[in-house]
């Protein structure tokens, strides 16, 4: 269950970011632990390679800020690792390391490969 934070981004509590959930009701914690998918592990590896212990292209505070800028709809829709990927995409395009068209082309190529070769 996602935290019900939408009503807190209204004028009811002006200035409260949708990510700033401290003290809000978020429902019970689901104790079921799932196994991380390969792409989820890869996303963490990528983040580490680009981060403060790696190439220093991105830093933790930037990944937080870009999560806070993606909009409440996307923030509530995406899972933890998806938010991480979206945040990295935003930073890397902001810095001109990648551009969105390049990412779209690569995604289309991978989608085609999976469709045709099953991997």
């Amino acid at each position: 269950m996602e935290p019900d934070n939408t009503k807190f981004t209204s004028a009811k509590e002006p200035g409260r970011g949708y990510h700033d959930l401290g003290g809000l009701s978020a429902g019970p914690v689901d104790p079921a632990v799932t196994t991380a998918k390969p792409w989820e592990k890869l996303s963490v590896v990528l983040g580490n390679a680009l981060g403060s212990k790696g190439k220093k292209v991105i830093c933790t505070d930037e990944t937080r800020r870009t999560r806070e800028e993606m909009g409440v709809e996307l923030y509530n829709k995406l899972g933890y690792f998806e938010k991480g990927i979206e945040s990295m995409r935003a930073i890397l395009t902001e810095k001109g390391v990648l551009d969105d068209a390049e990412i779209e082309r690569r995604m289309a190529a991978i989608e085609k490969r999976i469709r045709e070769q099953g991997r």
Binding site: E13, P14, G15, R16, G17, D20, G22, G23, C59, D61, E62, R64, R65, E68, E94, K95
Partner: protein, 94 residues
């Protein structure tokens, strides 16, 4: 390393909601607490978040709040507290 606040000093967290990446949680803004310790000086995360170097460093404090001060409907013990790390520019002398 000396700053305006020492352990034991009472401080109030600024009740302000500026746009941008801010490291002070909403639930302690405007609340009054006590300096528990000086954590040190660190590059400012509110600047690092936008690709700047975060310098000059900002002094970080651990501030202790009474749970009953933070949560008006708190039903736990009177002595319960919560510690939050807060940068100096968010704190005001009481």
């Amino acid at each position: 390393m000396t700053g305006p606040f020492s352990p034991g000093d009472k401080v109030r967290v600024a009740r302000t909601h500026p746009p941008g990446h801010r490291r002070t949680p909403y639930y302690v803004r405007g609340k009054t607490g006590t300096i528990e310790r000086v954590c040190g000086e660190f590059p400012n995360p509110e600047e690092l978040a936008y690709g700047f170097d975060g310098l000059p460093r900002k002094r970080l404090y651990r501030v202790r709040f009474r749970q009953k001060e933070v949560w008006p409907n708190y039903t736990g013990a009177d002595g319960d507290t919560v510690d939050v790390d807060i940068y100096e520019h968010w704190l005001r002398a009481v």
